[in-house]
Symmetry: C2
Subunit: 149 residues, 2 copies
DNA sequence: CTTTGACCTGTGAGTTGCTCACAGGTTTTA
DNA sequence: TAAAACCTGTGAGCAACTCACAGGTCAAAG
């Protein structure tokens, strides 16, 4: 089963330009139709493309995906690298969640405070002032020099 | 209190190049030292810079921050836009959290299944196969054409 | 048979928010 | 006085696409 760019793109639910991009990035290895120089993708390319998209959803980078795919090509035995990357990624996801949750709590409590303020719902100025006094959760190190205004 | 690039950068805990970048993006309005053409930042610039950094941590974009800052400059009365953007951003954060949590659960349960498999800890191949069969949580629409292999 | 429209080709630029490199001018320090 | 450390603007690079462009190809309609 051979497909042209638009066809494989449709089959995988992606933008044809993404297919072209993945092709030039070496994730897909289509052959050529010698008559017209068009790219010819087969079922294996489709599998690779779908794999790549799913791995992207998991947060793998394109170089990571490419090396996974390459090792699978080489029949290069089980690749422990894949598992390593997967667990590293899981840790990242958990860290991102924690950060975002912290952020959400701070935003929500800020909104709550504003709502309870005498003037009623918070206006823009109030919020600007609040952001100004937002505490930096990290990377506040050499902020001591030139002590504020 | 006048500061040069490196000084204000240090005071805000950012890279001097970020200061230069924000300056050319119009977030900071330093004056010039006519003697040597150096940029001169004052306490107000520092406030703007710190505000910008905090707003960035909340996920505001630079254009958003610039318009907030500009409206504050115009003494343009409380800007309801700010509040709108803030609440929009909060909603985004909550959506991101939900997505990441879903992702985490799927990754963890996958790892759990692998660990319980007869062969012991999952190898790369197993994981590759699992990623291949990962269900797409969304955007699976016209995936029907060219029904897989 | 030719035109039209939809597709294909590769390449280059735009997106976001920085960060770094470069080449040249200035100021400080030894 | 010369080297080190700073300043200047501009331009490129990062990730992962997305889109625009110019030109070639192909299927169907006139």
């Amino acid at each position: 089963m051979i497909m042209k760019v638009k066809e494989i793109a449709q089959a995988a639910g992606v933008n044809p330009d993404t297919v072209r991009f993945y092709t030039r990035e070496g994730l897909l290895n289509p052959t050529r139709n010698p008559d017209n120089n068009y790219q010819q993708y087969d079922a294996d390319d489709l599998r690779r493309l779908r794999f790549a998209r799913k791995a992207r959803q998991l947060g793998f980078s394109l170089p990571e995906i490419r090396s996974i795919l390459d090792q699978a090509d080489d029949h290069h035995s089980p690749c422990p690298m894949v598992r390593e990357v997967f667990e590293k990624r899981l840790a990242e996801v958990e860290r991102e969640i924690a950060e975002l949750q912290q952020l959400r709590e701070r935003m929500k409590s800020a909104l709550g405070i504003w709502r309870e303020m005498p003037d009623g719902t918070p206006d823009g100025h109030t919020i600007c002032r609040l952001i100004e006094h937002w505490d930096e959760p990290a990377l506040a190190k050499e902020t001591e020099a030139f002590s504020d205004d």
